[in-house]
């Protein structure tokens, strides 16, 4: 069954295709027409602040929620009505991992592996070592990070085609974080698909092929990191003897600041992707002693998109 399914979806069929998801909890609209597409064998970053609807989307993908409208297809199958078939090909790590307090970590890993049905025994033992987990301890004595390790090891040790990870590293230390990144790279090398919901932009930047940014129950931006950066301004910083004056007065370029420095004048500017080449050409003609062109970091993309949210929130506080 598992075999035929995995053969069947190989191709360009998206691993997850969600269209127009709407989910209301009472008067709260958690998902408001959300669209999400996770391509075959890609690592897809799923970004958004708390309460934006990331976990609700994941729960809909897992068939735990009945949608008010919209549809989720995983490997082309309906996430609600064909949930069991879908689940044979995925492994899930919840954001807030709750385990059975009286079971040991090792027992939990094997139980979760058995429930999923495709545990690779050798990889399981290897992962326990790599994540430095003591599998003989009862899970009630585990910290949040250790509980997360249990769920991660259980998911990574399966042969599931799709890994759905809801903020999997929020309790891990930096050492384990880098171990996690290595594991995800191995998983993609094996041809697996990953949906990675995360707060940690560095992690998303390091791992993800494509990113979807959620805000108030909708995906506001989706694309490769390069595409997202294109939609955001690149910063140009340079040092010249003379002030730039009107030289940079062209569409798509804004001068942010000009400050006197010991060796001249430091100018900071922002340029759109379209105006970038022209702007840099103008600056080089000014003969700058230093010139830095920096693509926007994901943090900036992210903050750019949320700036609207922050400002009204502050305004609302004022009487």
């Amino acid at each position: 069954m598992g075999q035929s399914l995995s053969e069947w979806f190989i191709g360009d069929r998206p691993a997850i295709q969600a269209t127009g998801l709407v989910k209301r909890f009472g008067s709260v609209t958690a998902l408001d027409g959300l669209d999400l597409e996770v391509g075959h064998q890609e690592v897809h970053g799923f970004l958004g602040p708390n309460g934006a609807g990331k976990s609700t989307t994941i729960r809909a993908v897992l068939g735990q929620l009945r949608l008010d409208s919209g549809s989720v297809r995983v490997f082309g199958l309906d996430a609600w009505s064909q949930a069991v078939t879908v689940h044979r090909q995925l492994a899930y790590v919840p954001g807030d991992v709750a385990l059975w307090p009286s079971l040991t970590g090792g027992e939990c890993i094997d139980l979760l592996g058995a429930l999923q049905g495709q545990q690779d025994r050798r990889r399981r033992d290897e992962l326990v070592g790599r994540f430095d987990l003591d599998p003989t301890k009862r899970t009630r004595t585990y910290s949040k990070g250790n509980r997360q390790k249990v769920a991660l090891i259980a998911a990574l040790a399966t042969d599931a085609e799709l890994l759905i990870l809801d903020e999997p590293t929020s309790g891990l230390d930096p050492l384990m974080e880098s171990q996690f990144q290595a594991c995800i790279r191995e998983a993609t090398a094996q041809g697996r698909t990953v949906l990675l919901s995360s707060h940690i932009l560095g992690e998303v930047e390091a791992l993800c092929d494509r990113v979807s940014i959620v805000r108030r129950g909708r995906v506001v931006r989706t694309g490769t990191l390069a595409e997202l950066r294109e939609q955001t301004l690149t910063s140009i910083s340079f040092l010249t003897r003379e002030p730039v004056g009107t030289a940079l007065a062209m569409p798509g370029v804004t001068v942010v600041s000009e400050r006197a420095a010991p060796e001249g004048i430091r100018t900071e500017a922002r340029a759109t992707a379209a105006a970038l080449v022209d702007a840099v050409a103008v600056v080089t003609r000014l003969n700058p002693s230093t010139l830095t062109v920096q693509p926007p970091s994901l943090d900036e993309v992210f903050l750019d998109l949320y700036r609207d949210d922050i400002v009204p929130a502050q305004a609302a506080v004022r009487p």
Binding site: L90, V97, A98, G106, E107, D110, A114, G117, R138, A151
Partner: protein, 519 residues
């Protein structure tokens, strides 16, 4: 620390004592209404007061020709179990449960000694229990009992509760979690109760063996004996000292017994939803089965004497809801109902565990697998049905063995088993009503306890409270027929089985259609 305990737990600290005092007061008031003159009290002394079964339930009776004596005897009916449980709950609630929640490490990290939380909890519990005593004494005096008698009696009640608060404090230090502490304490309370019930029921002169026996021995409304007071106080201080020692010796968040490392791999039996559910409910099943068997055995040991007494006393037999022609069978049927109630409690506790699986998000993890909801639900319900059967079997067998031992008749074993197992369909129906509530929402399952409580009231107090028939019929247990006094009501059994199946179908469909609460 005392302030924190009072501030954070004041509702429990105030509510439980008030409830306990009120229960004692209601009892005293009821006794006053039921036995207003000497003649009625003498009848009481000669019937209820002489019955080994009621002594097993109530403890020894003294001065039963006085209102105070009867009140003390009647309070024993609920007080011997309920008061220790409440006291131990107060103790654990303010010690181990706080530590489980992670608040104690916050507090002891500040400039507060490691023993302070325990002392604070002890003071809070002692204060609450002393308040109970004062209120109880005042309420008893208000019903017209003598001031001296009421005071002695209330003091005995307080000391009795304090001893079990001490057990709770010590258990809270020995066990590694609040749940472990509760389990340990309930085991102690349960064993004390059963041992005392056998001693008092059989009339053995060793009633000093358990602290529960001491309560009646104070004889507050007659010639007061002082030794039980001293014994209570000494035992409480010893328990408290032991708790302090344990607290001093152990690490925070650990028990005195160091946790052993468990298996690094899951066993072959822990492979699917069924294995998992058995793993998380088996402790509960073992505990309740042992409890049902022990309690059944104790009742069985008393069955012959009680049977004889009932046979010679038509009034008492009527109070037990039967006639004098089959006294032994009457006792068997009472045991059957008690065991059935225990089985209902097991079923509901299992359902509460299932609800916790959902609300914690663990169910979401389990269902994100190749197992679907209906399969999980049906195997859970199937396992619960088997667990309920196990408890009924253990209880029925326990009674049968006890009865066979005293009467020398081997057929008592079969009688005990059939009396308990006759309630299987009714118990399943109660369980499935709870299951249907759980399927609608995991928050609703708690409502099913109301049904079990009602079934208990109908089974135990229907005649005393003169409940009308339709109210009694709300309890599914009522429809089974009191085997072996009456025949099994086959029609009712068939209807209950059909209802159970219907509810199972309904709950499966409903559960598969709704959102999971967390995941």
């Amino acid at each position: 620390m005392l302030r924190i305990a009072v501030r954070t737990g004041y509702l429990g600290l105030a509510m439980w004592p008030l409830m306990m005092a009120a229960l004692v007061w209601f009892t005293a008031d009821g006794v006053k209404g039921l036995y207003p003159d000497d003649a009625s009290r003498l009848v009481y002394q000669a019937t209820v007061g002489a019955s080994p079964a009621s002594m097993a339930f109530n403890g020894r009776g003294y001065n039963l020709d006085t209102l105070g004596g009867i009140t003390a005897y009647e309070v024993g009916f609920f007080g011997l179990l309920l008061l220790p449980i409440v006291a131990a709950h107060l103790a654990i609630r303010h010690t181990r449960a706080q530590e489980d929640a992670g608040r104690v490490d916050l507090v002891t990290a500040a400039s507060i000694g490691r023993l302070a939380p325990l002392l604070g909890a002890m003071l809070a519990a002692t204060g609450a229990l002393l308040a109970t005593g004062l209120i109880t004494a005042a309420l008893l005096v208000s019903t017209g009992l003598s001031v001296t008698g009421s005071s002695y009696y209330a003091l005995a009640l307080v000391l009795h509760m304090l001893v079990f608060a001490g057990v709770g404090l010590l258990a809270g230090q020995l066990a590694q979690t609040a749940r472990g502490g509760y389990a340990l304490t309930f085991a102690v309370i349960g064993s004390c109760y059963v041992v005392r019930a056998i001693i008092d029921g059989r009339g053995w002169p060793v009633t000093w063996l358990t602290p529960m026996g001491w309560l009646a021995e104070v004889r507050a409304f007659g010639d007061v004996q002082l030794w039980p007071y001293i014994a209570f106080a000494v035992l409480f201080l010893a328990l408290f000292a032991a708790a302090l020692t344990a607290c001093w010796m152990r690490d925070l968040d650990a028990g005195l017994v160091a946790p052993r490392p468990g298996p690094a791999d899951g066993s072959a039996r822990l492979r699917g939803p069924l294995g998992l559910l058995w793993r998380i409910t088996r402790g509960m099943v073992y505990g309740w089965s042992a409890g049902a068997a022990a309690w059944g055995f104790a009742l069985g040991l008393l069955s012959e004497e009680t049977g004889k007494l009932l046979g010679s006393n038509p009034g008492l037999a009527q109070a037990f809801g039967g006639s004098t022609t089959k006294p032994q069978e009457l006792m068997t049927s009472v045991a059957g109902v008690v065991v059935a109630l225990l089985a209902c409690a097991v079923a509901l506790q299992g359902l509460v565990r299932l609800a916790a699986e959902e609300s914690s998000g663990r169910l979401g993890l389990v269902l994100a697998s190749r197992y679907g909801r209906s399969r999980w639900w049906l195997s859970s319900m199937g396992l619960l049905a088997v667990e309920v059967l196990a408890v009924l079997f253990a209880g029925g067998l326990g009674y049968g063995l006890g009865a066979a031992l005293t009467t020398g008749r081997a057929d008592q074993i079969q009688a005990g088993l059939s009396a308990a197992l006759a309630y299987y369909p009714a118990t399943l129906l109660v369980a499935m009503i709870g299951g249907a509530l759980l399927a609608v929402s995991s928050l609703l399952v708690i409502l099913a306890w109301v049904l079990v409580l009602w079934a208990a009231i109908v089974a135990m107090l229907a005649d005393t409270l003169q409940l009308p028939g339709w109210l009694r019929n709300l309890s599914p247990l009522q429809h089974t027929g009191r085997v072996p006094v009456a025949d099994l009501n086959i029609t009712a059994v068939v209807v209950m089985c059909l209802l159970t199946v219907l509810l199972l179908a309904f709950s499966t469909v409903w559960l598969c259609r709704r959102d999971l609460a967390a995941g």
